[in-house]
Amino acid sequence: MKLVTEKRELSSRLLRFSAPIVSILVALFVAGFLLLAAGVNPFQAYLEIVQESLGSLYGLSETLVKTTPLIFTSLGVSLAFRMQIWNIGAEGQLYLGACGATAVALFSGLEHPVMMITAMFFAAFLCGGLWAGVAGLLRARWQVNEVIVTLLMNYIAILGVDYLVYGPWKDPKGFNFPLTAQFSDAARLTEYFDTRLHSGFFLALFCALLLYLFMERTVWGYEIKVIGSNPKAARYAGMNTGMAIFFVLFLSGAIAGIAGFGEVAGLQHRLQHGISPGYGYTAIIIAWLARRSALGVVIVSFLMGVLLVGGDSLQLTWQLPVAFVYAFQGLILFFLLASDFFINNRLKLVRGGRHA
């Protein structure tokens, strides 16, 4: 008897849709052993994650607070994915967006809330977009690998924000902490139910809907999909692929930049060191798990929000490092890639002989 793989004649639809769920479950199972090895009871830990993130109105609101930047960054990353462009720089674009919004909030002198918020929004949009646009330009003009450029620019962006909050933008009344002065009331998004949930969440949902319509109902969206699946055909059809690459990376970064706007205008009300615990990296996993669907992005972002809120609480009760969440996310991706194989292939037992 011998175990061999063979191609399926038709890819399995059932597996296609169940693969993300199965991978999450298997990752939970394997991560359980890792937790056990680190001296933490996995059942208690998982129970705590669910209770903390979903068990109370406050917990749920915190989950949505974390879901918000995840939706923005993941939408950005998944937009680029549609064209087979890898934007690994959503983290840096978020920081740049936060930077742009903060510059407007601190120095524009606008007093009317609507004007102020609108200006902050567009500053974040533009900063995030241009930051990713650098990688877009390099890729479109000289085929420079956008994975490496967008990633390395994360480090530069984070150091740049550090420079500002430790240096020129530091709040003189902030007891030397690395943060800027607090924003005026005009620069704050509305908050609901006495929680930290802010209108950025609804903006994120709206943005997901908008992006869905853009991809499915406009010529531009169609072109992006064609270029992504068959760049040669796109060129023969007269599409300007270079321009499209720049445009998509710009838009992808701009959407990730809005996440930064949401964080400073809705949540922190100032710019400070370490505003994101790695939303931009989690976004890559969300975009891959969501399989290019905007609705999928919203759902998976919520799941990851649950994980992040739970991870924060595990840090308090078990002194587990928050970075553990990354190990879990890495596992999910591994299992998803492995299960992708079985969508198009199946295992088969062959009796005797060398048959393969």
């Binding site: 690998n145 450029v149 390395l152 891959w288 190990a327 996310q329 890495g330 890639l337």
Partner: protein, 306 residues
């Protein structure tokens, strides 16, 4: 002054050099590995834990090699056997590495070990200017010199090296000649990953003999970029790694001298220069004949052979 700067250059280059060499072995066989950053962290933690437990630096380095190899074998299995997306699998490996080392590194924080010590090579260490920086160093640095030559020899002077390069260039042709494509790729990814792990171990056993969460700080990504700068050659990898070590050393020197330029700005320099060099070497590659392995990033499936 020049000697001190050169010495700091060699010491800050070595982890990146190991990582770049490991990545080159991966890519020469046709597999992109974006897990370098994670593998370095796994190597750093395993190296530190191994030395801490055994009291032997050699055990630490071996632990780093095998731990990174084990982690790399996951990437190898997914990309080679299961023909999964190499970029996503590599990113997953990096995330897994960051997370798992944070988790298991908790108990190592604050512990100390006796790190690598300098051993002078008699005679050579008396050479003017380059004597001290290059020949009064620790064993891992000497090992890295050796590895650069050994890898070049392996690629161009051995049958296995030829087989590995063919698998990266034209796997179907290699298959026809009886080279086991999948096995060769699997071994290239795992052994390459192990070498990356030694680079990580250099951080925790020599640079700063302790474990710090996320201590690779982007060096793995710099190594990924340097592979392109190096046009997949181990000698050019040496040049590239030293260039970056030089920038890091200068940046540290400026900070030590107490310049008015912000430390945050200075810390950006290595990343900034990596991007610059990546752009220049990409443009240059396109003008000349590209050295990039022909089948880089493409899974091999015998059934698709033409």
């Amino acid at each position: 002054m020049l000697e001190i700067l050169l010495d700091a250059t060699v010491r800050s280059s070595t982890p990146i050099l190991f990582a770049t060499l490991g990545a080159i072995i991966n890519e020469r066989a046709g597999i992109i590995n974006l897990g370098i950053e994670g593998l370095m962290l796994i190597g750093a933690l395993a190296g530190f834990a191994g030395t801490q437990a055994s009291g032997s630096l050699l055990v630490g380095v071996l632990a780093a090699f095998f731990a990174a190899m084990l982690a790399g074998s996951v990437h190898a299995f997914i990309t080679v056997q299961l023909r999964g997306n190499q970029i996503v699998s590599g990113l997953a490996l990096t995330m897994f590495g960051v997370g798992i080392t944070a988790l298991f590194g908790r108990s190592m924080v604050g512990l100390t070990i006796a790190g690598f010590e300098r051993i002078a090579i008699p005679g050579l260490n008396r050479l003017p200017v380059i004597g001290k920086p290059f020949f009064n160093q620790d064993m891992l640095i000497y090992f890295s010199f050796l590895l650069v030559v050994a890898i070049a020899f392996f690629f161009y002077r051995t049958r296995w090296g030829l087989a590995l390069r063919t698998v990266g260039e034209n796997p179907a042709a290699a298959d026809t000649c009886g080279v086991p494509v999948l096995l060769t790729r699997f071994l290239a990814v795992t052994i390459g990953s192990g070498i990356v792990g030694i680079g990580g171990a250099y951080l925790s056993l020599a640079t700063t003999p302790m474990w710090i969460e996320n201590m690779s700080a982007g060096r793995g990504w710099i190594a990924v970029a340097l592979v392109i700068f190096a046009s997949w050659s181990s000698y050019r990898a040496l040049a590239g790694a030293y260039l970056f070590g030089g920038i890091t050393a200068m940046q540290l020197r400026f900070q030590a001298m107490g310049t008015t330029v912000s430390a945050h700005i200075l810390q950006m320099l290595p990343y900034f220069f990596t991007i610059l060099v990546l752009v220049i070497s990409t443009i240059r590659l396109q003008k000349g004949a590209s050295q990039q392995p022909e089948s880089l990033g493409q899974p091999y499936d015998r059934e698709d052979r033409k």
